[in-house]
């Protein structure tokens, strides 16, 4: 009885403290959260309209039947995968502090997976029938449909990326050593699982002979290479923010090392893309049409051309910024490179990958697609929601990691420390 009361009291303490942490912050924190909330609400209102009239409210049609939503989904699966893959170099190069990198990476992955899943949900015409896809309850077409695989892979990945950081954080909260025998297998499996989610997402497109643009075996490696560029680029930026607003100390050298790895990944990404372009342009079969549409325009339709060339320029510039040690090791150029990569890769594997799959369509019709305001707003809303979730997670996780937010038993010690 006494013990139960003790536990309840501690739980209450935890919740109050969490609430306190989340609700209090600097002016910049409030402004950031309110901005995100506003964007979420606007996005939600736009989504309600789409839910009401159907996907008719978007610019998608029978020719280009997937658009901005699925483009964002593809990109975010990559970001989620790369955040965890960063665990490997962290161990290999002994990045300090490794524990923070693991927790942060996994929480970022979890937030990205939430966004990716939301992008699929808003793309569904019949969200009310979502349960048809659930295993056992619905009628999941497993293992035939790659979309069924993706549902399993993403949810499994989400589970892993919640389990691991929550377990570690609880242990740190109680100032106990994690039971590595229990958690290490999960950490180890999350690495190949990260590769798996992006491979499955690539296979989803890859297995369709109706769409020659996607039907290239190089697709899964390309996806992984580009994810290894954009994911770590996002992480570098986040690390710098965290280092500024919290007590976590992160060495510059770790950031520079990540940037160096991005340079290699970007080289691989450009090389794989180059291989595809060579094959298409040298063989010059009818299947080149989608490439022509993307890179030079087809029969006067050239909506994507400026986009893809800007993406190419951004990726190449970023590659050189990260390749040359002096630009890589200066924070201003490093951050510029990160921004270029985040945007460049988004264009390349988001709209630059999804839309040409549909142009020209299998019967040769060319219909250009550009997302409308509603699609943009709903997409911004989902991005804002993901960022808000990640911000709040960080707001609680960081004090636990640094030892400021801890079990009542050690509280005095912490406040004592602070006063000294």
């Amino acid at each position: 009885m006494e013990k139960l009361r003790e536990t309840l009291k501690e739980t209450w303490h935890f919740y109050m403290k969490t609430l306190n942490l989340v609700a209090r912050g600097s002016k910049a924190y409030y402004a950031w959260c309110l901005l995100l909330l506003a964007v979420i609400i606007i996005g939600f209102i736009y989504y309600l309209k789409q839910h009401d009239v159907g996907l008719f409210a978007t610019n998608m049609n029978d020719q280009v039947s997937w658009g901005l939503y699925i483009a964002n989904f593809t990109y975010l699966v990559g970001a989620a995968a790369a955040a965890v893959l960063l665990v490997i170099p962290s161990y290999v190069y002994h990045f300090k502090p490794i524990k923070e990198i693991v927790i942060l990476g996994e929480l970022f992955a979890a937030s990205s997976v939430i966004m990716a899943i939301l992008f699929v949900m808003v793309d569904l015409g019949r969200l009310d029938r979502f349960w048809h896809m659930l295993p056992l309850i619905g009628k999941m077409n497993f293992p035939q449909s790659l979309l069924a695989w993706d549902v399993l892979a993403l949810n499994g990945y989400f589970f892993l990326n919640i389990l691991i950081p929550v377990y570690l954080l609880v242990k740190y909260y109680y100032r106990k050593d994690p039971n590595w025998k229990f958690i290490l297998p999960f950490i180890l499996i999350s690495v190949p699982w990260a590769v798996a989610i992006h491979t499955v997402t690539a296979f989803l497109y890859n297995g369709l002979p109706a769409r020659p643009f996607w039907n290239a075996s190089i697709l899964a490696p390309r996806f992984l290479a580009s994810a290894f560029c954009s994911g770590p680029a996002i992480i570098i930026l986040i690390f710098q923010i965290i280092r500024k607003v919290s007590a976590i100390h992160l060495e510059d050298s770790a950031l520079f090392k990540i940037a160096e790895l991005i340079a290699y990944a970007m080289f691989l990404n450009l090389f794989l893309l180059g291989s595809e372009i060579y094959k298409e342009y040298y063989s010059h079969s009818v299947h080149i049409a989608a490439f022509e549409y993307l890179f030079e325009g087809l029969h006067g339709h050239n909506l994507l051309v400026p986009w893809i060339w800007s993406a190419m320029a951004m990726n190449v510039i970023a590659f050189f910024i990260f390749l040359v040690p002096s630009t890589r090791r200066r924070l201003t150029t490093l951050n510029l490179g990160c921004l270029l990569i985040i945007v460049g890769v988004w264009i390349e594997k988001g709209p630059g990958f999804v839309i040409p799959g549909f142009v020209p369509d299998p019967l040769g019709e060319i219909h250009e697609y550009i997302p409308n305001l509603l699609e943009l707003m709903v997409s911004f809303g989902i991005w804002a929601l993901g960022l808000l979730i990640f911000t709040l997670l960080m707001k609680v996780a960081i004090p636990i990691v640094t030892g400021e937010f801890t079990h009542t038993e050690y509280e005095k010690e912490v406040t004592g420390l602070r006063h000294r």
């Binding site: 159907g54 996907l55 793309d123 009310d128 048809h132 009628k139 049409a289 299998p362 019967l363």
Partner: protein
């Protein structure tokens, strides 16, 4: 009682309560009995005979209420020893699109704000056939056929090895024993993966609420075919399942003024389609994709 002077705080509170109450009305009223029933509806293939009967009675009542018309909804199953096949004689097609509009009418496709067509007729310059990139889908001259062009009608090719069925994440689409690929419109989640997978553009989507003038409704329907449909589910040609399972030709075959379109049972050695396959030079669209379609194009001779 005190004077009724609203403080600002009271005003804001009352306003927000009203707003919340106001917003919850559409949410609550959105869950009508109909929608709850639809939400819980089972997959068609998992229903018992009894459940199917009840479903059909319910649908007939709903259509009666919605359109004021008596519908005959069939759930007739495939006949033994039938595998439907289609023949299309390219040298005869004049590109008049009568088949397209006969199909729209017969199968209750949406008419306005996205008119849906299950059949597309492509206009190709003579000398082209396989590379469809130069095809014209929206040709609109005063009279057809135009000199120098050939016409290639395309619809669902009823593949024996259908890529669309393979990719559907929820088994909302499947192949019937008589070879027809059907959709349970009430099970489709609207992900459109099948549209991406189809090499023939055989599938179209109701992007909004389908729209048909009541007087043009065809009330003789099949559950897996031409019954009135809802927004955001996929649909496709079923070889007029409501007709062919009752011994009639598909509407497009009947509508064609030039006798371009042929139809029959591939398992019957005496059928017209078998005669065509054995005696004419037939080919199938995109045979290289190994979809094993049951839609045979042929030329005279």
């Amino acid at each position: 009682m005190r004077d009724k002077h609203y403080t600002r705080r009271e005003f804001i509170r009352n306003l927000s309560i009203t707003a919340i109450a106001g917003m919850s009305i559409p949410l609550l009223s959105a869950c009508t009995k109909e929608e709850v029933e639809d939400f819980l509806q089972k997959h068609f293939l998992e229903m018992t005979e009894e459940e199917k009967k009840r479903l059909i009675a319910k649908l007939e009542e709903r259509y009666q209420q919605k359109y004021g018309k008596k519908f005959q909804i069939s759930t007739k199953e495939a006949q033994q020893d039938t595998l439907w096949g289609y023949g299309l004689e390219l040298s005869r097609c004049i590109g008049c699109r009568r088949c397209v509009y006969a199909c729209v009418k017969e199968n209750n496709q949406s008419r306005y704000k996205r008119q849906l067509h299950w059949i597309r007729v492509l206009q190709l310059k003579r000398g082209n056939l396989i590379n469809l990139e130069n095809s014209e889908h929206y040709y609109n001259p005063d009279t057809v056929p135009e000199k120098g062009y050939v016409y290639l009608p395309v619809q669902c090719q009823q593949c024996q090895n259908p890529p669309c069925v393979k990719v559907c994440p929820v088994h909302a689409t499947w192949q019937e024993p008589d070879g027809i690929v059907v959709v349970d419109y009430n099970w489709c989640i609207g992900c459109r993966y099948c549209i991406a997978a189809c090499p023939y553009k055989g599938r179209v989507f109701n992007w909004g609420e389908p729209n048909i003038p009541v007087e043009e409704l065809n009330t003789s329907v099949h559950y897996l075919g031409n019954r009135p449909r809802m927004k955001c589910a996929v649909e496709k040609c079923t070889f007029c399942i409501q007709r062919v399972r009752s011994g009639r030709y598909p509407a497009c075959v009947e509508a064609c003024p030039t006798g371009t379109r042929k139809f029959g049972n591939l398992l019957d050695p005496k059928s017209e389609i078998r005669y065509i396959i054995e005696n004419k030079r037939v080919f199938r669209l995109k045979e290289d994709l190994n979809t094993d379609s049951k839609f045979y194009y042929f030329f005279e001779g």
